[in-house]
């Protein structure tokens, strides 16, 4: 089967700086790839390129069979990105944010409550304005939109950052479920060992390129411990 992601010598500029300086990467359906590397290695840029948000200057970049340089918008509709700063409307409640995202993706709103519950944003929190939520809660809400949208390619930038211990397993479970449904996942991390355990392959990045690819230690892990994702 043809890969979900195929980058060959992809170059992407931020301003005039080649944040991505010729990256090569291939991701197969149902695969989980973790990206590790020093600060400034180009991980975020890589994810934003794959999300179709940062334009590719040169090289080959095909995502979900679509050439990014031809039709980035088409890609955006099918991938889901969780960035360093989750993109929420501060004035809207968590619930409204999720339902807006889902309806924007052409989906019904029946999944909203389930998605929110899944990430442990229930009751009062669901109707609190996003601007008032805590760092971790905001990330949970952002995750909820992904859960609801169920994209074909999940792009998670440091998914564990500012999530509490309970939610760490949540992330692992979400990834497992996504792949179980045939989606691919690319996530960045600053904990190589932990990441390795969660991924089929791990990419080292440095100087805007993928410098090494090593096999990961991920076994099939489909049991989800109920009650993991509660918020105190």
């Amino acid at each position: 089967m043809d890969p979900v992601v195929r980058l060959r010598g992809a170059v992407a500029l931020i301003g005039r700086f080649p944040a991505l300086s010729g990256a090569d990467l291939a991701v197969l359906p149902g695969e989980v790839v973790s990206v590790v590397g020093a600060n400034g290695a180009g991980k975020t840029t890589l994810l934003r390129v794959l999300a179709g948000l940062t334009p590719v200057r040169s090289g080959e970049a095909v995502v979900l069979g679509v050439d990014l340089r031809q039709d980035a918008p088409a890609v955006r509709r099918r991938v889901g990105l969780l960035g360093h700063a989750p993109s929420l409307y501060d004035e809207l409640t968590a619930r409204e944010n999720v339902s807006f995202a889902l309806r924007a993706a052409g989906l019904g709103t029946e999944r909203v409550e389930r998605s929110l519950a899944r990430v442990g944003i229930g009751g009062r929190l669901a109707s609190t304005r996003a601007g008032a939520l805590s760092a971790g809660q905001r990330r949970r809400v952002a995750l909820a939109t992904l859960v609801g949208r169920a994209p074909e390619l999940w792009l998670l930038d440091e998914p564990h950052a500012s999530l509490d211990t309970g939610a760490r397993d949540l992330v692992a479970d979400l990834i497992t479920e996504a792949t179980a449904q045939g989606a691919a996942v690319v996530f960045t991390s600053h904990e190589p060992e932990a990441a390795l355990a969660m991924s089929d392959r791990q990419a080292d990045m440095a100087g805007g390129r993928v410098t090494e690819l090593r096999p990961g230690a991920r076994g099939p892990r489909l049991t989800t411990v109920e009650g993991d994702s509660h918020v105190a």
Binding site: L13, R16, P18, G207
Partner: protein, 265 residues
């Protein structure tokens, strides 16, 4: 598409050079004819001689420069013909157009002072022309904003098209609402110049000459654009090298990672 210019930056093509030379000669001839050969106007006296410069300049600005800009912007936005070539052409012709637009205002004001007794008045034609200048200055401002070539091109193409909306307004301003400004004496509906023969010919010559000048200027600006893109491409090469070098442990940051003074405090 790659930033590497498809056009090689050879010195100006022959036609551009000739356009330049002929344009210069033609303009000189126009001035000579205008000043010495053609008869002074009954009512306006020698002031009429501005007629050989002002309208042609205006036409070049409005119809050639901004017209070309709008056209190539369209061609850029249309996927089939999308190419940075059109973006460069648009940029070049807008820059030239802005110059001619300013000249239109200048000559117009020079002319207005004696004929209307004022440098400026809030006449529809005048205002809309001034507006046009501002619009395309806005376009140039937008161009300054750093962005991916494609992104900037799209952005500016849109701006150019929207700005072009004002051109017909300028032209019909004299018809839509009564203006101090001369109605369309030459470019009127049934293209029948209502002016003296020799004047008409001089006017035509002036128009042709300025058109050639326009062509030359656009060619020059285009070439500069290409050269600029070239240097960008070169710069990219270098910065790529630097970026790769960050991967090696011998990168600039490492040495300074911790000054000895700090070890084992």
């Amino acid at each position: 598409m790659s930033v590497r210019p498809k056009t090689s930056a050879r010195p100006l093509p022959w036609w551009a050079r000739w356009a330049g030379i002929l344009g210069a000669v033609g303009t000189a001839a126009t001035v000579w004819l205008g000043l010495w050969v053609t008869p002074p106007d009954r009512t306006q006296g020698n002031l009429v001689r501005l007629v050989y410069l002002h309208p042609p300049i205006a036409w070049v600005a409005l119809y050639l420069a901004f017209g070309l800009a709008a056209l190539s912007s369209l061609l850029y936005l249309w996927r089939r013909t999308r190419s940075l070539f059109w973006d460069r052409v648009a940029a070049a012709s807008v820059e030239v157009g802005v110059v001619f637009n300013a000249l239109t205002l200048a000559t117009g004001m020079l002319w207005g002072r004696p004929t209307w007794g004022v440098w400026w008045t809030w006449d529809a034609r005048l205002t809309s022309t001034a507006l046009l200048l501002v619009l395309f200055l806005g376009y140039l401002a937008l161009r300054r904003v750093p962005a991916e070539p494609e992104v900037r091109a799209r952005r500016c193409a849109v701006a150019a098209l929207v700005a072009f909306v004002d051109v017909p307004i300028v032209h019909f301003s004299v018809i839509w609402w009564q203006t101090l400004h001369q109605g369309a004496t030459v470019l009127n509906a049934n293209l029948s110049p209502t002016i003296h023969g020799s004047m008409a010919w001089t006017l035509l010559l002036g128009f042709v000459a300025l058109t050639l000048v326009f062509v030359w200027m656009v060619a020059v600006r285009y070439r500069i654009e290409v050269l600029a893109d070239r240097t960008d491409a070169a710069h990219l090469e270098i910065s790529l090298e630097e970026r790769w070098s960050e991967a090696e442990p011998t990168s600039s940051d490492v040495g300074s990672a911790r000054p000895p003074s700090q070890v084992g405090t």
